[in-house]
Amino acid sequence: MFSVVRTIWYVLLHMFHKRITVQYPDEKPYLAPRYRGRIILSRDPDGGERCVACYLCAAACPVDCIALQATEDPTGRRYPEFFRINFSRCIFCGFCEEACPTYAIQLTPDFEMGEYQRPNLVYEKEDLLINGPGKYPGYNFWRVCGVQIGGKDKGEAENEGPPVDIHSLLP
């Protein structure tokens, strides 16, 4: 008898507590920028694709849901020929973002990806690529790396001296 009365009393008290239910989807919750939601591919500050198709995200992925193929443009800049994420397998662990050496792959605070058809959860590069640098503005891998690409000759990367003249006899 006592426990019944106590229960009714607690229920009554709860009527005066602050409401924590969010009226989603009319009301959107705040998600931190580091929230691990839908994956995107970003671009570097110059507007070029950041992904260099190094395959590290695919290797890091515990559910093996990333597949890509590397290719090169005529100037030697490497990029993915295709880049596919099977979101019906993705567990949003963020390992791919951690593995990425160029900040290309990033997880975003968006989780609204529900689909009625599983094949619609297979995202190709055109679905993934956004038009900005995402969370990491400013970084451009190609400015750091020693490989020559269009618009960046040997010795023009950060912290690089001019190419050695190997025919010179000077010490």
């Binding site: 695919a58 020693g146 001296g161």
Partner: protein, 867 residues
């Protein structure tokens, strides 16, 4: 062997006192980082990376740092790998090596299988403190096969040591000085050496990378790999074929201590691209129209039921040839090689089976100390053997070093002691060869005169051998005979490339006259010896056969016989069915073409020129309806079934069935995985087709699985799909799989020998040919082989095709004087090349390059001024 006890970090180990500490520690599976040392090339102590602490005795607490690769193993030595000072020293060394290393790993093809990455992780260097400028270099164009990215160099000197000292090249060198040392050519250009592709594996970092892989780049961890055997010559080098997304991506060396060791030739390494060629047959073709598999197969069965002959192929597996033989009947099965070559191959096999001379493996060739090559341009007919022969000339000078008590692994001192001294290597060929620079003496002679020299040598060695010893031959023959006689492990190399039975007989006579001599023959194609062991009549006999239907197995007859003969031959049949992996002039004439699997898509066995039967396995499943020829031709469900049938029908080939474990083989109940356990993309690679990933295909033919699931243990060597071990991602991981460094693999080297010598010496051959006589206005067209271009399949690989020569005819400059830049030959205008030492009366023509494909060389022909 007497072993020495060495204490490493307080524990006693048994080590080989003939070795250095690095070699011995690696053999004991310890992790000790190194760069410049290479198991095949010895120590030079250039990189200082393998530093360890050595203590005087038990009471010595201080010790001193020594380079493990430069310190001999000594009884009672005490060393420490884990000593903090040694650890710090190694860390400092790699920090220094990394000062100028670019931030390239994500876009570097070596990444993920990089020795520098592995060693950096092993030493624990993980943070860059140096913030000043990095020095940079411009890259060079080194040809269609090898890519250059010089910024990544850590100056270990392995590339020039391999290229110049091991492989005998001279167009790659180190330039400039101090921190600007540059490794490359003096100017852009194609690397000239035939073994340049090994730089990809020799270089511990990404300076030299595979340019063919770059076009369809995949990381090592993403590849589905299988043990395979090279099909581009008769040596049967072991390779690892690697697939991704249904496409053959690359080949790398698969260590086999007895066969190829650590190295491959460029034709073998880069010829694989024919598998992805536009000219692949991918659909059955029935009367010129694409057909599906069922009607095509039904048509084949219908044809096979009638009056039919079968033509086998020296580039098809034993199983495929046997399947055709079973389908048409043994008496109606013909070897797909012309009579002349078939007789030569048979003679080679007979000599090896009946005579006392044993055919050596490539490793044994490396250790021979006197060599006579009769008639073979080895670099172009059996390229990897040339690399072994090049090491053989170091054997005798190495004895001087041994007498001076310099251990043989001390590469630089041994070379300094040897100076320019070379062991006796004698070459007798019509035209200059790439081995001439290593030879003690080279003789240029017409094929018959090469044979005469061989007969003369054999007579000097054994008076019982027939003699025809004119004064002109006596000098050179005596020099050769003397060198061979005084050698401990003499070797005779010959082969069918000049189309001369006399040369093979002469080689046999020399080997038989010299008790204990080894006799190595080259074979023109990957299964020439295997097909010869099937003892089928030659192609010429098929020309006379009466039948309605001819079934031709993986063979382009237009590369075997003159076009007119083949045209007439094919026209005689009402039906011609061809099974092949690539389109050819023969498939164009066929009523029915069936798509056969290429080597990387097939299981089968090949017998190499050593007489070693080796198994190759599927690296990728071919897209249906492509399948192995033996599946098209027979009703066998699995490889083991056809091997069983072959063993009972051809008992002398039964041993070939044991070249690899059967499909039921398991290790702890598990199969051997074709993919490394880091294989990625499994749930996404086909998701655009079907979001439910398919079950991995089952392999009923082998104990290999088409996935990363399976045993983590080391399988038998014939099943070893790739070399990888924790902490050792690069191909240098092979150290961990060897019984002995640079020795056999832990489970024994792959393959079984099915050709063993007889005990009795048969009577000497006595058909000495008369001296060669030049003719007026006519020249003997002599075959000149080209590593790039003479072989049928590799010609279809774009990189190899780019390096193939254009048709030419070569004459002695004095004889060429009467012509201009071009001549008329065989009704065509062909450019003229001058070869200084070519004997008068001979005209060299490139083998296998149209219009010279299919000619019965050597043959006499008129050469005239262009009309």
């Amino acid at each position: 062997m007497k072993m020495a006890t060495v204490y490493v970090d307080g524990r006693a180990y048994e080590m080989d006192p003939k070795q250095n500490l690095l070699h011995a520690c690696l053999q004991l599976r310890m992790d000790l980082p190194y760069f410049c040392w290479h198991p095949a090339m010895g120590s030079v102590g250039a990189c200082r990376q393998c530093a360890v602490k050595q203590f005087k005795d038990e009471s010595d607490q201080h010790g001193r740092i020594v380079m493990a690769c430069m310190t001999p193993v000594a009884e009672g030595a005490r060393i420490s790998i884990r000593d903090p000072e040694a650890v710090e020293f190694r860390q400092a060394i790699i920090e220094g090596l990394m000062l100028n290393h670019p931030h390239d790993c994500p876009v570097c093809d070596e990444g993920g299988e990089c020795h520098l990455q592995d060693m950096t992780v092993m030493t624990g260097h993980d943070y860059r403190r140096y913030t000043f400028e990095k020095r940079t270099f411009r890259n060079q164009y080194l040809g269609p096969l090898v890519n250059h990215e010089m910024n990544r160099c850590i100056q270990c000197y392995r590339c020039v040591r391999f290229y110049r000292e091991y492989a005998g090249g001279n167009d790659l060198n180190s330039f400039s000085l101090r921190n600007q040392v540059f490794f490359g050519r003096d100017r852009d250009g194609v690397l000239e050496n035939e073994f340049a592709g090994n730089l990809v594996e020799v270089c511990p970092t990404g300076v030299f990378t595979d340019a063919t892989l770059k076009r369809h780049y995949t990381r090592k961890w993403d590849l589905q790999m299988a043990p395979s055997v090279c099909v581009h010559c008769g040596l049967g080098c072991n390779i690892t074929a690697a697939e991704r997304y249904g496409m053959l991506r690359r080949l790398v060396n698969r260590y086999n201590g007895e066969v190829n060791g650590y190295f491959l030739c460029d034709r073998g390494r880069f010829g694989y691209e024919f598998v992805n060629s536009e000219r692949r047959v991918r659909q059955p073709v029935l009367r010129g129209k694409p057909a599906s598999a069922e009607p095509a197969l039904e048509h084949l069965r219908e044809l096979a039921g009638g009056s039919v002959i079968g033509i086998g192929s020296p580039r098809a597996s034993l199983e495929s040839n046997f399947a055709l033989r079973s389908l048409v009947g043994a008496e109606r099965f013909y070897a797909g090689v012309p009579g002349a070559q078939s007789r030569l191959l048979k003679q080679m096999v007979d000599v090896l089976r009946n005579g006392p001379a044993r055919t050596p493996s490539l490793r044994e060739i490396e250790h021979c100390d006197a060599v006579l090559i009769l008639g073979e341009d080895v670099t172009n007919t059996a390229p990897r053997m040339a690399l072994s022969l090049r090491q053989s000339v170091r054997q005798q000078p190495a004895e001087i070093a041994e007498r001076m008590r310099v251990p043989l692994w001390m590469d630089h001192p041994v070379r300094e002691i040897a100076q320019d001294q070379k062991g006796p290597l004698f070459i007798a060929t019509p035209s200059p060869t790439r081995l001439d620079d290593a030879a003690a003496r080279s003789h240029r002679a017409a094929p018959d005169d090469v044979a005469r020299l061989g007969f003369a040598v054999s007579h000097l060695l054994d008076q019982g051998a027939p003699a025809d010893l004119p004064d002109a031959l006596r000098g050179p023959a005596e020099e050769i005979a003397q060198a061979l006689k005084s050698a401990k492990r003499p070797l005779i190399v010959s082969g069918p490339s000049l189309g001369s039975a006399a040369i093979i007989q002469a080689a046999a006579n020399v080997a038989w006259a010299l008790p204990g001599a080894a006799l190595a023959f080259t074979a023109p194609e990957s299964n020439s010896i295997g097909l010869s062991l099937m003892e089928a009549p030659a192609l010429d006999a098929a020309l006379a056969a009466e039948a309605d239907t001819a079934i031709i197995l993986e063979n382009d007859l237009y590369r075997r016989l003159p076009a007119a003969v083949v045209d007439e031959f094919l026209a005689r049949f009402r039906h011609v069915a061809v099974l092949d992996c690539v389109e050819s002039a023969t498939t164009a004439k066929a009523e029915l073409v069936l798509p056969a699997a290429a080597f990387a898509e097939a299981d089968g066995s090949l017998v190499n020129s050593e007489g070693r039967a080796q198994r190759f396995f599927q690296a990728l499943l071919p897209t249906a309806p492509i399948q192995e020829s033996w599946r098209w031709l027979g009703e066998w469900e699995t490889l083991d079934e056809i091997l069983g049938a072959m063993a009972s029908a051809l008992p002398h080939l039964a041993t070939a069935a044991s070249a690899a474990p059967g499909a039921s083989f398991r290790m702890d109940g598990a199969k051997v995985p074709r993919s490394p356990h880091r294989y990625s993309g499994r749930t996404a690679m086909l998701a655009q087709i079907d979001v439910h990933e398919p079950k991995p295909p089952e392999d009923r033919d082998s104990p290999l699985s088409f996935s990363m699931e399976g045993t983590p243990d080391q399988p038998p060597s014939a099943l070893q799909p790739f070399f990888w071990t924790p902490g050792w991602n690069s191909i240098q991981a092979v150290n961990k799989f060897q019984e002995e460094i640079a020795g056999p693999l832990r489970q024994g080297d792959a393959g079984v020998r099915i050709l063993e010598p007889g005990s009795q010496r048969p009577p000497f051959f006595d058909q000495i040919p008369p001296p060669f006589q030049a003719r007026d206005g006519e020249w003997l067209l002599t075959p000149l082989y080209h590593i790039f271009g003479s072989e049928e399949l590799s010609r279809l690989a774009p990189g190899i095709a780019q390096l193939s020569p254009q048709p030419y005819v070569a004459l002695n400059p004095e004889e060429a004087g009467q012509f201009g830049g071009e001549v008329d030959l065989l009704g065509q205008r062909i450019s003229l090349v001058r070869i200084a030492d070519l004997p008068r009366g001979l005209a060299g023509v490139p083998v296998g390059i149209p219009p010279f494909a299919g000619l019965d060389l050597p043959m006499w022909s008129r050469i005239s001024r262009p009309s």
